[in-house]
């Protein structure tokens, strides 16, 4: 599994969220973090190293930035997948409460 440890951490996060010990994350929050990561990656890509050592260092940084972007994208897709389906108001009213919340403890909120 590509993001095994991240998935484990996400599970632990949901447990903390359920216990009211974590702040609820929304897809738009992940999008903000993703935007920052992409901006940082773009900054790194603009750099033009003049020595092989610097180039190697930059290569590592860009690869890591790509990896972090990949992790954030995976997290975003997980959150979107687990979010309650966007139903029309009439349908939503008919839907049983248990079916309306697929994300574990998605309703829990800590201020």
């Amino acid at each position: 599994m590509a993001h095994e440890k991240l998935a484990e951490r996400l599970g632990a996060y949901y447990a903390r969220l359920g216990a009211g010990k974590a702040h609820k994350i929304k897809a738009r929050d992940v999008e903000k973090v993703l935007a920052k990561l992409r901006a940082r990656r773009a900054d790194l890509a603009e750099d033009t190293p003049d020595k092989p050592e610097k180039a190697a260092r930059l290569h590592t940084k860009i690869s890591t930035a790509d990896e972090l972007i990949g992790r954030a994208e995976w997290l975003l897709s997980e959150l979107t997948r687990m979010a309650p389906p966007q139903a029309a108001p009439a349908e939503a009213e008919e839907m049983p409460a248990s079916e309306n919340t697929t994300a574990p403890s998605a309703e829990a909120k800590q201020d």
């Binding site: 974590a22 973090v33 920052k36 930035a65 800590q110 201020d111």
Partner: protein, 607 residues
């Protein structure tokens, strides 16, 4: 003697109460009403703290961009919470934590003074005209159910409902007490006309507010007494002015434990209220005429003195704002001159001083700023320990060249500087974090508190690691000794790169900042360490350095990379986003040691 003053004051109050109860059973009704009202105010304030203290704090941070916005926040927050004390306390703690300017703090206080007049309108307009006790009962019952729930938000909501219920019940008790009292007594016989009445009743209003610690309670008492015909309208106006003076005592008491900024705000509040009160007293006759005009225009009955008093209360507070706003810049200058800021000391905490209250936003902001202070001290000391100057590195376009040129020894007592600039500050941070961790803070705030304390520990480790390598660094970098000097320079370059990268992060706008950038730096660092080992092996094989120098370098290389790792660890924790959700995402996305090691390998490493 001063030791016994509070006891004497308490004895006097209790004695007066007992005498009043003995003289009139109705006085018990009135006193019980005041007690319920004050209890309600306390519940309301606590409830709003639990329900939305952090929301209020977040809004306050955004609402202080301009003076009108700061004043608008003061009006709105006080009207909603009906507690100018809560708004004042939050403003003082935000100012103390360096989150808002003194001018913004004064704007909030001016606005809160106007917002507090909404209480007089509610009491005179609604409280005395409907059977308010009937609404109190369901509020108390619903509030009690909510108050025993686990979720902090529901508990806070319950306290707010109970607070409103108790306030309603208190108003009903006082009203009933005065109605019954009027049958047997006529307090208007004690009315004083003219200047004497103005002076005596202003002092009475101020004293009542100091004793009850609430201008709302004084206003409630005087409006109810006015509605029952137990006080003359003229004397009631003086009591309202006195209440404005008395309320500053609460602010002064609150500021006693605040830092210099909190004290400036409290003095500004006192000046504002005194100027407003003195002007209102001087212009009482024209003001009264203006109140009559406005009241007539608003359709308030000629005999509805309670509502006319509310008009007067709003009008003279508005007048105070109109008077003081043009003088705001001068007031700020005066306060800054009168209460001078302590001389900045790099070895003393700057932000975690004074009473910051128990608002997570202020506690964390102050601690984060103090960490940045410690980080700055650590960066300077690390540089000097390696014969470098941080400002030279920050202005450098070619760090390797700047490092190669830095051969002048920097003489300093590293141990003493460590004790002064790092250890004392670290001790203050650890103590502050421990004190605040004992407060009933939300779990995410406690997590952040722990992270910032860990960041302080990492910074100390970074400095200590450099302390171990300082002697050799001095030996090999103050003169060009060939290959070994170049090797030590390579360590200095790596450290300089890390330090300047962190400085760049520090200078980035908080909204654009991400602690995750540090992950890439740390991974690049691990490769740098492997490269250093290969380089020294090659130099040893070709006899360009001695075995003794090689072992010194390998040891010091370990210290240098330990220092860099610790600096990056600290930076990642210090510069986490202030937004809690984004901070949580960063915790999820960051890589542990195994993940960092298992990442992409550079071409250099594979070759």
């Amino acid at each position: 003697m001063t030791r016994f003053a509070p006891l004497l004051q308490l004895g006097l109050i209790l004695g007066l109460l007992a005498l009043a109860f003995w003289l009139s059973a109705d006085a018990q009704h009135i006193a019980a009403g005041i007690a319920l009202f004050l209890l309600g105010m306390v519940m309301l304030e606590d409830g709003f703290k639990g329900l939305g203290g952090s929301v209020l704090a977040r809004v306050l941070q955004r609402a202080t961009a301009s003076l009108p916005r700061a004043m608008g926040f003061g009006v709105l927050a006080t009207t909603i919470t009906q507690s100018s004390s809560l708004v004042s306390v939050i403003s003082i703690s935000f100012l103390s934590a360096g989150l808002i300017s003194l001018q913004a703090g004064l704007g909030i206080i001016f606005g809160a003074n106007l917002g507090t007049t909404s209480g007089a309108w509610l009491i005179a307009g609604v409280g005395l005209k409907v059977d308010i006790a009937a609404y109190a009962m369901p509020l108390l019952a619903f509030g009690a159910v909510l108050m025993f729930q686990r979720a902090a938000g529901l508990r806070g909501g319950g306290q707010v409902l109970i607070g409103i219920g108790l306030i309603f019940l208190g108003i009903a008790f006082i009203k009933a007490g005065f109605d019954a009292f009027s049958a047997g007594f006529d307090l208007t016989r004690l009315a004083l006309a003219g200047l004497a009445g103005l002076a005596v009743y202003t002092l009475l209003g101020a004293a009542a507010t100091v004793v009850m610690q609430s201008s709302h309670a004084t206003m409630l008492l005087v409006i109810t007494a006015l509605a029952s015909g137990q006080i003359s309208y003229e004397n009631a106006l003086a009591v309202a002015i006195g209440a404005n003076i008395g309320t500053t005592v609460t602010a002064l008491i609150g500021a006693a434990s605040a830092n210099y900024q909190g004290k400036r705000l409290a003095l500004g509040h006192l000046i504002f209220n005194l100027v407003t009160a003195l002007t209102a007293l001087a212009l009482i006759t024209p003001l009264r005429g203006l109140v009559d005009h406005i009241s007539d225009a608003l359709g308030i009955g000629a005999q509805d003195f309670a509502l006319r008093l509310a008009v007067f209360h709003t009008l003279f507070n508005l007048m105070g704002i109109a008077l003081m706003l043009p003088l705001m810049a001068r007031l700020v200058q005066f306060l800054e001159r009168r209460i001078a800021a302590p001389a900045p000391s790099i070895s003393q905490p700057r932000y975690i001083t004074g009473d910051l209250g128990d608002f997570p936003a202020t506690i964390l902001a102050a601690l984060r700023n103090e960490l940045r202070h410690l980080r700055s001290n650590a960066a300077s000391l690390i540089c000097e320990g390696l014969n470098l100057r941080l400002e030279d590195l920050m202005h450098s376009k070619d760090i390797p060249l700047t490092v190669a040129r830095a051969r002048q020894p920097i003489r300093l007592d590293f141990e003493r500087h460590y004790e002064d600039k790092i250890k004392s500050l670290h001790a203050a941070i650890v103590d502050f974090a421990a004190q605040k961790a004992a407060l009933p803070l939300p779990v995410p705030a406690l997590t952040r508190l722990q992270e910032l304390r860990d960041a302080a520990g990492a910074l100390v480790r970074a400095v200590k690691a450099v302390k171990h390598m300082r002697e050799n660094a001095q030996r090999f970098t103050t003169a060009d000794m060939g290959e070994i000097s170049h090797l030590y320079d390579s360590l200095r370059i790596d450290l300089a790169n890390v330090l300047t990268e962190i400085e760049r992060l520090d200078g980035t706008e908080p909204e654009a900042r991400s602690g995750l950038g540090v992950v890439a730096e740390r991974r690049a660092l691990a490769e740098g360490g492997r490269r250093a080992t290969r380089t020294v092996e090659a130099a040893l094989q070709t006899r360009r350095i001695t075995a003794s120098d090689a072992t010194s370098f390998l040891n010091d290389s370990g210290y240098a990379f330990e220092s860099m790792r610790a600096l990056l660890d600290a930076a990642q924790l210090i510069y986490r986003p202030e937004n809690e959700a984004e901070a949580e995402i960063e915790r999820l996305l960051e890589m542990d040691e195994d993940e960092e090691k298992g990442g992409p390998q550079s071409e250099d490493h594979l070759s």
